[in-house]
Symmetry: C2
Subunit: 298 residues, 2 copies
C-alpha cells in the first residue's frame, strides 16, 4: 500500500511492503495550499506515478487533503474515536489505477461544550497507540497544538491551542514583530517567557510587556522571539496541564518544537515522554487493516 | 496657549483663551506616522501657522509625538506621577515664534516587576482628575488598553493590555480573519464572547474555538468579529478587575469603544462611570499652569 500524509505545506508519501515496512519515502514542499482545485490526482501522478503504474494499489491519505481546501471535504468522525470508527468513515476518492481513501478528521467538544477539530493528528495518534499505556495524554505541538486524551486505544477528547499561529502572527505583523527579530535559540530567554506566563494579569497584559521590555533594552533582538515563544507556550502548558489531571503526558512532534515543549514542561515540574514523530504512516497502515483494504500479515 | 494631542494616526490642535476655554479646534488624519523625520515644525506651520503668526505663543504637545518615532524622544516620568512631577519633565523643543514643550510619557512596573509605559494617557488622566474621587481606577480602552490606579491626584501605577492590537492582528492576518468578516454590531455575539472568556483552558484555546465554531456554521460572518471582540475584551476585563479590588472604575475613551467595554463590565457584574473623552486638552492646560508657562487665571 501507499500512505500519503498531505498537509497544508508539505507532501509526504510512503510505499510500504506487505509486512508494513517502509520501502521508499518521498517528501516535497507541495502542500495542499499549492494545489489548484481539482488538481490532486495530477499531483499524485507527478509525485508517485511510477508507484501507481502497476495498477491495483491501495492508497490511504491523511491530513488537510480531506479539508474544505483539499481534494474533497471528508466529514469529521466524532469522539470517542478509535481505528474502527475512523476506518468506517474512510472516504473513497477517484484515482486511476488505485483504490484511494482519505482519512476523516475527528471532532469533539471541550469541557465547556465548544467544538474542536483535528485533521491528521488522529492518524498520528493511531500510529502511536502501541507506545501508549491504557490511559494517556498526547501533546502534539504545532501551528494549532493538540492535547489529546487517549483511553483504551480510542481518542476520548481533545483541546486545541492557537499557540503556533499566534506566535507567527505576532512576530510577523504586530508591534512585537517590528521590534523583535528571529535569531539563535536562547534558552534563558525562552524560560523567562515560560516563567512570566505564570504571573498575574493574563496573556494580553504579558504581550504588551514584551514590547515594554524591548523598549527599555531588556530584551535582545535574538532573545525577544524566544521570550515571546516561551510566554505563549507557557500559557498553553499551564492551561493544558490544569485540565490533564494525573494521566502521563507524551509529546509527539517535530524534534525542535518537541524539545521546546519538553523544556517548558520540565520548567513547570511536569515530565513528558517523546513519541516517534513519523507515526502517521503507521496510523494509515492500521486503518487500511481495520478496513480490510490490505491483507493482515501481522 | 495652544494644546496639541498628536498620536500615531491623528493630529488634534486646540487654541485656548486666557480663561482656559477652547476657542478653536482642528483635527486632521495626520498622525506622527505620516510625518517624515525632522518634519514636525513644518507640519505645525502648515496646520496652525495662523495661530503662531503673532509670536509669543505657548504650545504644549502630548502623545506619541514624544516617542522614539516622534519629534524628539522624551524620557518617561516614573510613577507615582502627578501634574507636578510631569510638568517638571516637560521637554522644550524648537519652534519659531513659540515656547513649545512636549509632555513626557509615564513608566512604571506591574505587580510582578515588569516594565509598563504610556504616552498620552497620562495627560488625559490629569485632565480628568477633577471628575475623579480621591482613589479610582481609570480604564482607557484602545489599541493598548490602560488600567490606571489614581490616588491623591497622582498616577500610582498602571497595567497595559494588548487587546486592541491583538484583535486587529487576528482579524487581519490569521485564520480567524480569513473566516470572519466585519459587520454590524451584534450584541448577543459580543456577550457570548465575553462569557466564553470565563471558561477554562485559556485564551489560546478559546481563540482556536472561534475557528472551530465558524467551521461548523455556529458563527455568522457578522457575528464572528463581535464574538472575537467580546472574547478578547472579556479576557482583559476579568484579569484587570481581579487586580482592581474595591476602587470604583471609570471609563475614558472614544464613545463606541467605551460603550463596548461598559457592556462587558455590566455582563461581569461590575459598573463603570464614563468620563469625558476629550480631556487631554484640559491636562495640557493643567501642565502649563503647573510649569507656570501661562498665568493662572483660576
Amino acid at each position: 500500500m501507499i500512505a500519503v500524509d498531505w498537509g497544508t505545506s508539505s507532501f509526504r508519501a510512503y510505499r510500504l511492503d506487505e509486512s508494513g515496512a517502509i520501502r521508499e519515502r518521498r517528501e516535497r514542499p507541495r502542500g495542499i495550499a499549492q494545489v489548484p482545485a481539482g488538481g490532486f490526482p495530477q499531483v499524485l501522478a507527478e509525485e508517485m506515478g511510477d508507484w501507481l503504474a502497476g495498477g491495483g494499489e491501495t492508497v490511504v491519505l491523511c491530513g488537510m487533503v480531506g479539508s474544505r481546501q483539499g481534494w474533497v471535504e471528508v466529514p469529521y468522525c466524532e469522539c470517542p474515536a478509535g481505528a474502527r470508527e475512523i476506518a468506517a468513515r474512510l472516504q473513497p476518492v477517484e484515482l486511476d489505477g488505485a483504490a484511494a481513501f482519505i482519512v476523516p478528521g475527528v471532532c469533539g467538544f471541550d469541557a465547556s461544550g465548544v467544538r474542536d477539530v483535528m485533521r491528521g493528528e488522529e492518524t498520528q495518534i493511531l500510529g502511536a497507540l502501541e507506545a501508549l499505556p491504557e490511559e494517556a495524554v498526547v501533546c502534539l505541538p504545532g501551528t494549532h497544538s493538540k492535547w489529546v486524551r487517549v483511553q483504551g486505544a480510542r481518542i476520548l477528547g481533545f483541546s486545541t491551542h492557537f499557540t503556533g499561529e499566534a506566535f507567527a502572527v505576532l512576530k510577523a505583523h504586530s508591534l512585537l514583530g517590528r521590534m523583535i527579530e528571529g535569531g539563535p535559540t536562547d534558552e534563558a530567554a525562552f524560560l523567562a517567557g515560560v516563567a512570566r506566563s505564570g504571573e498575574p494579569e493574563g496573556l494580553l497584559h504579558h504581550l504588551f510587556g514584551v514590547r515594554a521590555k524591548a523598549l527599555f533594552g531588556e530584551l535582545s533582538a535574538a532573545g525577544g522571539g524566544e521570550y515571546l515563544s516561551g510566554l505563549l507556550i507557557g500559557h498553553e502548558l499551564r492551561n493544558a496541564l490544569a485540565a490533564v489531571r494525573d494521566a502521563p503526558v507524551f509529546l509527539l512532534g517535530a524534534p525542535g518544537l518537541a524539545a521546546r515543549y519538553a523544556l517548558g514542561l520540565r520548567a513547570l515540574g511536569a515530565g513528558a515522554r517523546a513519541l516517534d514523530a513519523e507515526c502517521a504512516v503507521n496510523g494509515m497502515r492500521l486503518l487500511a487493516h481495520a478496513r480490510r483494504l490490505v491483507r493482515n500479515t501481522a
